[in-house]
């Protein structure tokens, strides 16, 4: 069983590269803005989660992490957003949206 996991893990995308790429903006070539400032409908790519480490972990458990693409459902809603990703709809408040750095896709 453990062999299977090792094999699987080798197939996983290399995290370090992904994070570095995101930071270097190679995977986020457009303008990176906080979600709170780009809260209008359309697709966005999540580049980075900033702020409190607990928030980062919480976001990750909800599927919000660098590299993911999401759909904004609440146009002109100011800092409060509805974000659709991985088949789920998340409600995010201003503290959360200020810390999610995105780029338009």
């Amino acid at each position: 069983m453990s062999m299977t996991f090792k094999k699987l893990n080798h197939k996983c995308a290399c995290l370090a590269d992904k994070v570095k790429n995101c930071i270097k903006q190679s995977s986020c070539p457009g303008q990176i803005t906080p979600l709170s400032e780009s809260c209008r409908s359309g697709r966005v790519k999540i580049c980075k989660i900033t702020g409190d480490r607990k928030l980062c972990a919480r976001m990750a458990s909800l599927g919000v992490y660098a590299g993911e693409e999401a759909e904004l459902l609440c146009p002109e809603n100011g800092s409060q957003c509805l974000l659709k990703l991985q088949g789920a709809t998340l409600s995010l408040d201003s503290t959360a949206t200020r810390n999610i750095m995105v780029t338009e896709v």
Binding site: F5, K18, L55, C56, S61, C74, A88, S91, T95
Partner: protein, 728 residues
């Protein structure tokens, strides 16, 4: 067995399907905050199953995660059924990876495969099982499809040992984890609770609960681990600008993606497409139109409740009136008769008479909750809550406590456990009792019905808005003074819109209505009888009684014998003289009853409070009801019923309490509004106070809640009465 999974994945639905239980299932995340146990028989085998709170991970972030993890590591269930939403597989498997790391014997229930199919998602369960190394059984929890196979497969897993599985987190972190495992194993650190690798990962994830447990268990080893983890974190922050938990999460998703991309999941059509639920959200949660729709929907709920319950409520009123009259004719005069009529029938009848109203209100709330709209209300209210220093997670406790009217502050207080920030939680805890709970609704409905009968729904809606406004202002005051502190982020998953099922609506409406009836028939009945005793004893001195008897005889003897005979007959229509005699005797009896009530223990308390309560327009009888309301708010209506019916069991016995109040010279529209304001905002009932003390961990906060609320409510009621009287 234990049922675990993401919020809204269908755990409680499956639990109810398996056990035949009727646990509350809501289309709202976080309905299950504590775990619940149930039993069922499968192939002559008795099985105990535990429904755990929904959680996104096994890292202690909120109370749900702590409850779930503690249950798993302390109770060590023989098998964990991981309910996974098939239409949202990737995110749901994130928790699965942590179950694998914890090592519990696992089986995956792939729920909502019908929803996934409708969305064009095809999942090969056998391939997923092969790659994860655990059985995967497709099920539809709502209909029970696949549950037999699921349980049969789960029973086979019972013999499995707890065996943690490793997931690689990349070279850097794997190396760090190995170093931490060496320290943990060497010192058998937390070994009785968690696998060494699991502890190491949680240390890297900076899990507060495990860090604290570690310090309590072995502070020296804990310090070594923390030092090590700090070095790793600093290194990662410098080189990758990321915390270890972000890297761990990313690898977990990488692991999940690698599984799903091996032919486990295929999409028939565009994965980005918006579903009906999303399209509805674009309208119903719109910044401008959303609140308008919300107010219209809530007002519609009140309109529906009042218009549909009007006749059943009046029928029940007539029924209790008839019952009182019937008992009056069959029982001899004396304390037993008085207790049954004044204590039981008028007291309990006043509460039970509102069952139809409460039931229609609960039905409306069940529709909102089961359809998923209630979660949208929380989303929209979050924006307003922020302004007043509260958190988005405060919305649900407010609604549970009676935000839409008809809840209960006790579960509302318990629901504040989902708030992480102690100050935001305390502010919520202290303000949820301001909501119009199911016990206050009949009082509000009674006074509105008696004094503002022309537009009941509108007034009920208005008083609900007032309760929200006052609660939010009180929260702002608390957050600006004794509970100052930073706001914490609010993130919540919104469930999709669903058509409520008739069965679900019936269960939700009935379970809440039954609680109300049960309380009326037990606690409220007991308190009503106690208050009747307090309002009856010690009674009038023998001399005073004899004096009244003499007066009655004097009045009677002034009439001719045939008039006396006619007056005491059962006839409804009598001569003018006989009617005059009847009225004089009734007036004397009422005077005697009032003096007896004044002389009673409760009466004396009411009279003692009158010099102060008069400022808000309340007479001594109302004071008795308000004091009784400290025990339970339902008691207000039953005590008013008793106080305004003591001894009044003849000509006006069948009159409703509302009619009695409108006839009373101490009551008018201004007094009614002042009383409504006071009742809505004064000290919470006794059970809520105990609950606040327990949740706050200190009686000081409970006492603060009682005194602050009562003082605040009295100030408002006095202002309303004085200004209202001055304006005429």
């Amino acid at each position: 067995m234990a049922l675990a999974g993401n919020p809204n994945a269908g755990k409680t639905t499956l639990f109810n399907t398996l056990t035949g239980a009727r646990q509350h299932v809501g289309n709202y995340p976080g309905i299950t905050v504590d775990y619940k146990e149930g039993n069922f028989t499968h192939n002559n085998q008795e099985i105990t199953i535990t429904d755990l709170p929904g959680t996104y991970s096994l890292t202690a972030y909120s109370v749900e995660e702590v409850v779930t993890r503690d249950y798993l590591v302390n109770e060590k269930p023989q098998v964990v059924i991981n309910i996974v939403d098939a239409s949202n597989l990737e995110r749901n498997l994130y928790l699965t990876t942590q179950f694998l790391e914890l090592g519990c014997p696992l089986i995956i229930a792939l729920n909502m495969i019908d929803v996934a199919k409708d969305r064009g998602i095809e999942i090969r369960a056998e391939k997923l099982a092969e790659l994860l190394g655990v059985p995967v059984v497709p099920v539809i929890a709502r209909s029970g499809q696949g549950t037999e196979t699921l349980i049969s497969q789960a029973i086979l897993q019972v013999t499995q040992e707890w065996q943690p599985r490793d997931i690689s987190y990349g070279e850097d972190l794997d190396e760090a984890i190995m170093e931490l495992i060496a320290i943990i194993s060497e010192n058998t650190f937390l070994a009785h609770t968690y696998p060494a690798r699991f502890t190491a990962i949680k240390y890297l994830e900076h899990d507060d609960q495990i860090l604290q447990k570690g310090q309590e268990d072995d502070s020296a080893t804990a310090a070594r681990l923390e030092k090590n983890v700090t070095q790793v974190s600093d290194h990662l922050l410098k080189t990758m600008d990321a915390y270890p938990e972000a890297i761990i999460a990313d690898h977990r998703y990488g692991f999940i993606k690698s599984i799903l991309r091996q032919g486990v999941q295929t999409h028939s059509f565009d994965t980005d497409r918006l579903y009906t639920s999303d399209k509805i959200d674009k309208v119903l949660t719109n910044r401008l139109m959303g609140p308008v729709f919300m107010l219209m929907i809530l007002f519609g709920l009140y309109q529906f409740t009042f218009s549909w319950s009007e006749f059943p409520v009046s029928w029940l009123g007539l029924l209790f009136g008839w019952l009182g009259e019937h008992v009056e004719t069959i029982l001899p005069d004396g304390p037993v008769k008085s207790m049954i009529i004044s204590g039981v029938i008028n007291g309990m009848g006043g509460v039970l008479g509102f069952v139809p109203l409460i039931m229609f209100m609960f039905l409306g709330i069940a529709v909102l909750e089961d359809s998923g709209y209630l979660a949208r209300v929380a989303f929209m209210m979050d924006r307003i809550f922020r302004i007043f220093g509260l958190h988005g997670s405060s919305v649900m406790p407010f609604i549970v406590s009676g935000g839409i009217a008809g809840g209960c502050a006790v579960p509302g207080v318990l629901a504040t456990r989902t708030l992480r920030s102690p100050k935001e939680r305390m502010a919520t805890l202290l303000t949820v009792p301001f909501m119009n709970c199911g016990a206050k609704v009949p009082v509000i409905a009674l006074l509105i019905g008696a004094f503002f009968s022309e537009n009941k729904a509108m007034y009920m809606f208005l008083f609900t808005l007032i309760s929200w406004a006052v609660a939010l202002l009180a929260a702002k005051f608390l957050r600006a003074t004794v509970l100052k502190g930073e706001a914490t982020p609010f993130v919540m998953e919104l469930p999709p819109y669903r058509f409520p099922t008739l069965r679900g609506l019936a269960i939700h409406t009935w379970e809440r209505t039954w609680q109300y009836i049960k309380k009326a028939g037990t606690v409220i009945l007991g308190i009503s009888i106690l208050l009747w005793a307090l309002m009856t004893y010690p009674g009038l001195p023998a001399a005073t009684k004899a004096d009244y008897e003499q007066q009655r005889q004097a009045v009677t003897s002034s009439f001719a014998p045939e008039i006396i005979a006619e007056s005491s007959s059962e006839k409804d229509v009598v001569s003018e003289e006989a009617q005059r005699l009847r009225q004089q005797v009734i007036a004397l009896s009422n005077q005697e009853s009032e003096q007896a009530l004044r002389n009673s223990i409760a009466g004396r308390i009411g009279i003692a409070l009158e010099p102060i309560s008069r400022l808000a327009g309340f007479d001594w009888r109302t004071n008795i009801a308000l004091v009784g309301g400290f025990a339970a708010k339902e008691v207000i209506i039953s005590t008013l019923g008793t106080a305004y019916s003591m001894g009044d069991v003849k000509a006006e016995a069948s009159d409703s309490l509302g009619k009695r109040l409108t006839r009373d010279p101490n009551w008018n529209k201004v007094v009614a509004v002042a009383a409504l304001i006071f009742i809505m905002f004064y000290a919470p009932c006794f059970v809520t106070v105990v609950c606040i003390a327990k949740e706050a961990g200190h009686w000081g906060w409970a006492l603060f809640s009682m005194s602050f609320n009562t003082f605040f409510a009295f100030l408002m009621a006095t202002a309303v009465y004085q200004i209202g009287t001055w304006l005429g």
